[in-house]
């Protein structure tokens, strides 16, 4: 059952079980293509890199590297997707990740048990997200401004807490989590996949999910239908912040220390992945699988270009061009 709320006006498409929609009509639905273009793009680029570097790209080791690299961006992308579906944006997720990492480091340096450190990271993310949500929903400040401010605020608080010095985190459990894999899939990616399943379930199978899409699609209509817009908006920013806190734990495990520097590549990639995944920046439609695949796609492109020996400068150009092309493909599907 795929709920779809039209973003353009009063008409609300009835929720129809898939069995009732003939294949031909489904193909004509532009929304269908927007969601699955990213999967097509993924397969195209995968095939391209395999053709370019047959011996080196498609190895267990390399696939594992791609999935390891994609785990944290994918988690951030899930949070960003929730926010963008309400026609908002979260520019602070990378900084909130740093705040979460530094909170973890604070706990670790004080000798707290691992679980407490993890909770500190998640709570830090949750609080930042709630602040974002409250400012956007209740004080009605533009999401761009609020999350931009939080980007700076969270980054600054992280520096203050850590005194700008990294905290080394050596822990056998975290090390195992970061290094081990089941078959070719790293544990980090398995965690991300579990979160994907939960996110997709929440989006498509719960009333909350429908309300999220409704809020983005047409908040006036949604409010008239009885949706508590304020609560929904606060919730999605809280979700984004909390997921950033979870991503912080994974980053600390991977890097082996709680670093106080904000990595803005995470932010840019999360937005790019959401858009590539077919979620409209104007809100109202999309699913979680598209953005997740988009996040992996972006990491795969960097990996593929590195394996193919493309010099660093050209990699920047290539990633930019690929994002343009993919965005045009997704755009044309509208």
């Amino acid at each position: 059952m795929t709920p779809s709320v039209s973003g353009s006006g009063v008409t609300v498409q009835t929720v129809t079980p898939d069995t009732a929609i003939p294949w031909r009509i489904r193909l004509k639905d532009p929304y269908f293509w927007a969601n699955w273009t990213v999967v097509a793009a993924f397969i195209v680029f995968f095939a391209l890199f395999v053709a370019l570097e047959p011996g080196n790209f498609l190895t267990a080791f390399n696939v594992n590297s791609i999935l390891t690299a994609a785990a944290v961006p994918a988690i951030l992308t899930l949070g960003q997707a929730f926010v963008i579906m309400t026609a908002g944006i979260d520019l602070s997720n990378a900084a909130v990740l740093t705040l979460g990492a530094v909170s973890f480091g604070l706990g670790f340096a004080n000798g707290y048990p691992l679980v407490v450190c993890m909770l500190m990271a998640i709570v830090a993310g949750l609080i930042a997200g709630l602040i974002n949500g409250i400012l956007v929903a209740i004080f009605k400040i533009a999401d761009f401004i609020v999350t931009l401010g939080m980007l700076s605020l969270a980054g600054g608080v992280a520096l203050v807490i850590s005194d700008a010095r990294p905290v080394q985190v050596i822990d056998p459990f975290l090390a195992r989590m970061a290094i081990n894999s089941i078959w070719v899939v790293p544990i980090l990616m398995i965690i991300a996949l579990v979160l994907l399943v939960i996110a997709q379930f929440v989006l498509t199978q719960t009333r909350f999910g429908t309300y999220v899409l409704a809020t983005g699609g047409d908040s006036g209509v949604a409010r008239a239908m009885g949706v508590n817009i304020k609560k929904i908006k606060i919730s999605v920013y809280a979700i984004s912040g909390t997921l950033a806190g979870v991503a912080a734990i994974l980053t600390v495990a991977r890097i082996g220390s709680a670093e106080p520097a904000v990595n803005t590549t995470f932010l840019l990639n999360s937005v790019a992945a959401v858009v590539l995944g077919g979620v409209s920046l104007f809100g109202g439609r999309g699913n979680m699988i598209g953005p997740f695949v988009g996040a992996i796609l972006l990491m795969m492109i960097v990996n593929g270009l590195t394996v193919a020996g493309v010099p660093q400068y050209y990699q920047y150009i290539a990633v930019g061009v690929i994002i343009f092309l993919s965005a045009i493909l997704v755009r044309n599907a509208k």
């Binding site: 898939d18 069995t19 003939p22 294949w23 489904r26 269908f32 969601n35 699955w36 999967v39 993924f42 397969i43 995968f46 011996g55 080196n56 498609l58 190895t59 267990a60 080791f61 390399n62 696939v63 590297s65 390891t68 690299a69 944290v72 520096l159 850590s162 700008a164 010095r165 990294p166 080394q168 050596i170 090390a175 290094i179 078959w183 070719v184 899939v185 980053t251 991977r254 890097i255 082996g256 220390s257 670093e259 106080p260 520097a261 904000v262 990595n263 590549t265 995470f266 699988i289 695949v293 990491m299 960097v302 990996n303 590195t306 394996v307 020996g309 660093q312 400068y313 990699q315 920047y316």
Partner: protein
């Protein structure tokens, strides 16, 4: 296959990827099987992972590495972090290269920890690693099961101290020096600043203010420091790009009495020293570091033993020796020790 539902398309996509992943299990990465008699130079493949290539210091390191590769006829691949601060990006690059069948790695980690896991994986394959410029934290590396064969670099603290001693000599103990640091929390920056303060002990210090290795941010920082403390008679920046920004701020403020010093010894700063805009820079000869790094890797790839710590030259360049420094660039104006050249078997 009529009436394919969207959820079936999704399942198909997952199956397709799954099949591709299954195929991946069949393939295996090239095994370079080291050891044995000295590997012929033409067959040796070395990978370098440096910090961002948007900084001339690391570009010069790359140049030194390529010079060594050309001289000995080995294959060299150099990858950089996507940006000077992108620790995860750099770790991703290393992970990617780790499975590509290289004989040896030369690495400059952005932080002392971010490459540790990738290095652990590399060590477990029995591939040697040479660490240059920025040291990898030993405790973290050991926990990840990694091993560094050699470190080539300058002690950043000692480099800062050399700069501090020169500044103290020039300005005297009663002067105030403004300190401008790099990225907040960065080990290299912290060591250089701390070292400078040791070498210039007894002087008064303002700051340090972080300017993220950025020329413009350093310019703004210097302006702010001058505005709040006009007594400043000297500035020390943790790298040359920031020193250039400070020099501009000092020039615009009309304070030609202020002495500006940096660290790195990039070509542009040598010109500035000759022109009198900057007083000095502690040059760490990135070219030599890259050169020695690759040479150490060649020795290790051929199965030889390398000395664990090699100090690459660090010379304070001031107006006294800048002409020779420019003439000899990228090599230092004085001779330096190279323990690797004799160990390489042609």
């Amino acid at each position: 296959m009529r009436h394919l539902r969207s959820r079936h398309v999704g399942a198909l996509a997952v199956l397709a990827s799954g099949a591709l992943v299954l195929a991946a299990c069949g393939g295996s990465s090239d095994d370079n099987g080291g050891g044995g008699d000295a590997k012929p130079l033409s067959e040796i493949k070395v990978a370098g992972v440096v910090k961002g290539l948007d900084n001339p210091f690391f570009i010069t390191i790359k140049d030194g590495m390529e010079a060594a590769a050309a001289e000995y006829g080995i294959q060299l691949t150099v990858e950089a972090a996507p940006g000077l601060n992108d620790e995860t990006g750099q770790a991703n690059k290393l992970d990617t290269l780790a499975g590509q069948g290289f004989d040896c790695f030369v690495v400059i980690p952005i932080s002392s920890n971010n490459l540790t896991q990738g290095l652990g994986k590399i060590s477990q394959q029995g591939i040697p690693i040479v660490n240059i410029d920025s040291p990898v934290d030993p405790a973290g590396l050991e926990a990840a099961g990694g091993k560094i064969n050699a470190f080539v670099g300058t002690d950043n603290t000692a480099a800062g101290a050399k700069g501090g001693a020169v500044m103290k000599e020039v300005l005297g103990e009663d002067a105030t020096v403004g300190l401008v640091a790099g990225l907040a929390g960065n080990v290299t920056s912290n060591e250089r600043i701390d070292g400078f303060q040791e070498g210039a002990a007894g002087m008064t210090f303002d700051g340090p203010i972080n300017a993220d290795w950025d020329t413009t941010k350093a310019l703004d920082a210097a302006n702010a420091m001058l505005a709040s403390n006009p007594d400043i008679s000297g500035f020390f920046a943790a790298n040359d790009q920031m020193a250039q920004g400070i020099a501009q701020a000092v020039e615009q403020a009309g304070r030609s009495d202020i002495r500006v010093m940096g660290v790195d010894g990039i070509e542009a700063i040598l010109a500035d020293i000759a022109a009198g805009k900057v007083y000095g820079s502690v040059s760490q000869y990135p070219y030599v570091m890259g050169l020695l790094g690759v040479e150490a890797c060649i020795v290790a790839a051929q199965g030889g033993t390398v000395p664990e710590f090699v100090e690459s030259p660090a010379v304070v360049i001031t107006p006294d020796n800048v002409d020779k420094a420019i003439a000899d660039f990228p090599l230092p104006p004085e001779a330096y020790e190279n323990p690797f050249a004799t160990l390489i078997q042609r």
